[in-house]
Amino acid sequence: MADVAARGAVRGSGALTSDGRSSLHKLMQRKSTIAFLMALPLITLIAVLVAYPAGYAVYLAMLNKGMNRFVGLGNFGFLFGRDTFWMVVYQSCLFAITAVIFKAIIGFVVAHFVHNIPSKGQRKWRGMLLVPWVIPPAMSTLAWLWLFDPSYSAFNWILEHIGMDRVAWLGETGWARFSVILVNVWIGSPFFMIMYLAALKSVPEQLYEAASIDGATWWQRIWYVTLPMMRNIIAITALFSLIVTFANFDIVRVLTKGDPLNTTHVFATWAFRVGIESGDIPLGAAVSLFMVPILAVAATFILRDITKRGSEV
């Protein structure tokens, strides 16, 4: 790529000084050179700080702990033999899939309620409901950590006052898994709400009118009009969210640090624990690489959708 552009640059500048034959050709030559130069910082950044590290991670994952011997797939074999690893796989999938489903449902429902009210008030409600998405996740997770506090939990205070038992929110495996998912749903569902609200607004009102003239019920209107019209945006939002949720770090790190007994670790937090805190960089890289398959699948689907829409335009 660089060669082509460099040749273009030489020829282009030559053409500038002499009075060239075809000025259009000259312009094209110059244009592509300038364009390449303008994109060069971006290309450099992506090559050095994103593409190279991503490839380097694969190489790193095949070294021993001291990083002086090539061990091939040894690290992966070691991981497959560990119960903790399989627990992390299970928890990562449980965390991401459950959270995305609930975010999508809550986002869909809330978007409908906002869409129902007079458009004058919509801006205010939308603004309020998006607040969880705006607060930096590490900060808002701290608030949840305090809400879940073992001895001063404000939730337990309410539970006790309505005559129920206290809950060890972050102390028991089941509840801790519930809590990390709850916090993720809290942070992420406003995003779904905004996306679905934008999609709802693009559904032509005539379709609903036609449906109600045909005697469609409330449920039929959603099932046969709203959902088919929003199918694309529902899919792409869910895929985006799946990527982000699957790679989530902040929530689990701040809320439980993987406790109790590593049962709430996801790939990202476990990779951090193993790679940075325990100093086994190759093993940490190996753990983080397990995020790639699901990311690749989601990315393929998103890309297909985008190119499809691109050709429609």
């Binding site: 994109a39 994103v50 991670a57 409908h112 603004g127």
Partner: protein, 307 residues
């Protein structure tokens, strides 16, 4: 409860055929009431944690440990705010965060606006592939990159003697890996939506490509640029993993990590101060959001849908 919400709408579908407008509007009113009812419930759910942060931030440690009603402040005090804002450490975190975020915004916008213009309009060999590549890198999460980057930075120190680890300015190198692909992607979408006639007219009038960009594209795509700027700032301000992995000394920390690692000391949790610190840390993005909400939402929907 859900049944009750469905009932009024289902009964309305039948009478809607007959010219009975009274029941139709009655039905609308009920749907509206239920919408408000559920919106209030969801608003309570969504706003409860920040509200609770605020309540706790007004409490003294004595009141917190007395375990009175956690949802109410008996004797409000600003002592947490005063303590934090007169503490050098917290102000250092704030300053580090502010400098890093502002510079990351400048670097990101400079790289991405120019590159997006080249990719959207000037087309060169491989530009379509590169645009797809930008989108793919936007999907690569920080959690995949931090370990190889960690090792690369150690290698830079061994080879060139430049210590990149444990400096707040290192974050200015790291954050663009997350913000540049996203900002470029948004800007490609915005630039692509500008009519070709505009820049053709400019070129015919003898404008250079740089002039076309600064005199036409940047002013026309200003809403997109504002949206991308807000996003870059928010991402840079909120980033947690990179500073946690790459900085350790308290003088080098940024806000999120600073609060999590220094205010939580072992088992002694000074919750009044933690909540105050977190609330103040959340303030800049919240303030920007309050004033520029429409740009924020435009950027949010553009990031995933523009193509």
């Amino acid at each position: 409860m859900a049944d009750a919400a469905i009932a009024p709408t289902t009964t309305a579908a039948a009478p809607a055929r007959r010219p009975q407008y009274g029941s139709m509007s009655k039905n609308r009113r009920w749907a509206l009431r239920w919408s408000y009812f559920f919106l209030v419930i969801f608003a309570v759910f969504f706003l409860m944690p920040p509200f609770y942060m605020f309540i706790t931030s007004l409490k003294s440690s004595a009141e917190i440990s007395a375990a009175t009603n956690p949802w109410w402040v008996n004797s409000p005090t600003l002592s947490n705010y005063i303590e934090l804002l007169t503490q050098n450490q917290y102000l250092t975190f704030f300053r580090n965060s502010a400098i890093v975020s502002v510079f990351v915004v400048i670097i990101t916008m400079a790289i991405s606006v120019i590159a997006a213009f080249a990719l959207a309009r000037m087309k060169f060999w491989g530009s379509a592939t590169l645009a797809t590549g930008v989108f793919l890198t936007y999907l690569i999460p920080d959690t995949l990159l931090f370990i190889p980057l960690f090792k690369m930075f150690a290698w830079v120190n061994d080879t060139f003697g430049i210590q990149l680890m444990n400096h707040w300015w290192t974050l200015m190198i790291l954050y663009p890996t997350l913000t540049v692909p996203f900002a470029t992607w948004i800007m490609i979408g915005y630039f692509a939506s500008i009519p070709k006639e505009l820049d053709e007219a400019a070129l015919i009038d003898g404008a250079t490509w740089m002039q076309t960009l600064t005199k036409i594209f940047i002013p026309v795509a200003l809403p997109g640029i504002i949206a991308a700027t807000i996003f870059t700032f928010t991402v840079a301000w909120a980033q947690f993993l990179y500073p946690l992995a790459f900085t350790t000394s308290t003088s080098e920390l940024v806000l999120p990590v600073g609060i999590v690692t220094t205010l939580i000391k072992g088992d002694v949790f000074n919750w009044g101060q933690i909540m105050t610190g977190a609330l103040l840390g959340a303030a800049p993005p919240l303030i920007i959001y309050a004033f520029l909400m429409d740009y924020y939402i435009a950027g949010l929907t553009a990031g995933a849908t523009k193509g």
